[in-house]
Amino acid sequence: MNHSQYRRFGLAILAWGITLVIFFPIFWMVLTGFKTEAQAIADPTLFFTPTLDSYAAVQGRADYLKFAWNSVYVSFGSTLLALLIGIPAAYSMAFLPTKRTKGTLLWMLSTKMLPPVGVLVPIYLIFRDLGMLDTRIGLTLIYTLMNLPIVIWMLYTFFKDLPKDILEAGRMDGASTLQEVLYLLIPLTLPGIASTGLLSVILSWNEAFWSLNLTSSRAAPLTAYIASFSSPEGLFWAKLSAASTMAVAPILIFGWLTQKQMVRGLTFGAVK
């Protein structure tokens, strides 16, 4: 090996070493999910007979599915709503800009800056009075509003990338606004819309402030379910790991799929 090959080899070792350290807790969690409770608290080992007992136990508790369904309901429901409201708004900002557009965009961004704890009390009281505490609809609504600015921003940056000419050609060809959006804009920016949707799903799925504070038994999503393992009597590591693995796996995959595009949404278009 010559000098540069040594260098590359060393680099690979270093990078992989760091990667494994960062990823280790996730790896360990997945591994522990396949252990028995006794193995889970025994000395760490990579070699053991895997078992699906913990998964069976978690699945067996009928309420896991309920929590999972709540998570799916609120994250996909809120994403759909946000896209439905966000696409027309982003379309008009990207293709029919007025003097106010920039200000509107920034203002939308500023609503995202409002810390949730700052409005916890009123939201809690409003929800209590409207009977929306511990309801899926209530949480869905909160997540829609929480993600709407990000969704609009991200869509806006993707729409901006579409040459204006193409929509104008459509207009010359006689397309109405709705036809323009359905036949041209959506098919042409589908990858962008998909990653926007996925980011919104990820953010809602992992949200743990409103879900912990506004739901209890009926509408609680997985974040709240996992939190219930924090009580001392609930400390069954293998089951915690199995439940956690199931809770994070789909989102992890979504994240891997769209990591590059979602940077735009996370940074409000400031980094592409």
Partner: protein, 295 residues
């Protein structure tokens, strides 16, 4: 030819109607709770004492500002935000440079390294608290045992540090993701030109890479700040703010006041302070994004 007045060229009106739902919803979402928080913060209002509500003036603020818990929670917040920022930005920048290099399995390594960002906070916190940091059965205890060192009881002895580690583990990958993406827009020609000018790897990092990342780094700092100021779930499932007030940050303090002590007035005053803090950061972030909108 039909002479239908289509109004399609009247951009302003059409644009307004398309944005109306989004704008209206966000306006309500912002103004109503904000107004109520402000209003409550001037009320004596405890859910345990219904019918006793009255105007309190600055009472809640006076009470809050003279409460040592507030100052301790502010300090905790600042330490938490500061250390996580330092770790994630410095670490993220160095790692971005590392992962940008060409090595075997680069793509897979990158994906694995950014994964913690996609893990829900309650899972991260519990996995770390139990399987990693448990003083008896945790991996870290086992690891120090290998070297004959005593196990550390992380959450009893270093509660805030433990929280910082967990939060940094979640947010370092965020910084890495953003900075890696920003790095990809760095022109290879620029680096090669610098090499031709005699710049070594360090000089390239300091004179080319770092200036190129400047904007992305500031975006990372500001966005993380907004989120880190109100870290909640990680504390909720691990320490519940304790021992004592050791890990109670502002967000958790407001939660205690509001939903455990039912002191609506006091919690709202705390909320106003949190909003003011977040806005100081937000102003800078929004300015920066605005500048970015122009080019």
């Amino acid at each position: 030819m039909r002479t239908r007045a289509s109004g399609r060229t009247v951009g302003g009106l059409r644009s307004l109607s398309l944005q109306a739902p989004a704008v209206t919803l966000l306006l309500i979402w912002m103004l109503v709770p904000l107004g109520m928080t402000l209003w409550f913060s001037f009320q004596r209002y405890n859910l345990l004492m219904p019918g006793m509500e009255r105007f309190a003036g600055w009472e809640n603020y006076e009470y809050l500002l003279t409460d040592p818990a507030l100052w301790s929670s502010m300090a905790t917040t600042l330490v938490l935000v500061g250390s996580v920022l330092a770790i994630s930005v410095i670490g993220g920048t160095l790692l971005a440079v590392l992962y940008q290099q060409d090595f075997f399995g680069q793509g897979v390594a990158r994906v694995l390294a950014i994964s913690p960002f996609f893990i829900m906070p309650t899972v991260s916190a519990l996995v770390w608290k139990n399987m990693m940091m448990h003083p008896v059965n945790g991996v870290l205890a086992w690891f120090s045992g290998l070297f004959g060192l005593p196990a550390v009881d992380w959450f009893s002895n270093y509660p805030l540090l433990s929280i910082i580690i967990i939060v940094a583990w979640q947010w370092l990958p965020f910084a890495l993701l953003i900075l890696l993406t920003a790095m990809q827009s760095l022109d290879d020609d620029q680096v090669e030109a610098a090499r031709m000018d005699g710049a070594g790897p360090l000089a390239v990092f300091f004179f080319i890479t770092l200036p190129h990342l400047k904007r992305a780094i500031s975006v990372v700092i500001m966005i993380q700040m907004i989120f880190l100021l109100t870290i909640f779930a990680e504390i909720y499932v691990t320490t519940s703010g304790g021992p004592g007030l050791a890990t109670t940050n502002l967000a958790y303090l407001i939660y205690i006041r509001a939903l455990l002590e039912f002191d609506v007035g006091g919690a709202s005053a705390g909320g106003v302070i949190a909003i003011i803090l977040a806005n100081i950061v937000a102003i800078f972030l929004i300015r920066m994004v605005a500048r970015n909108l122009d080019d």
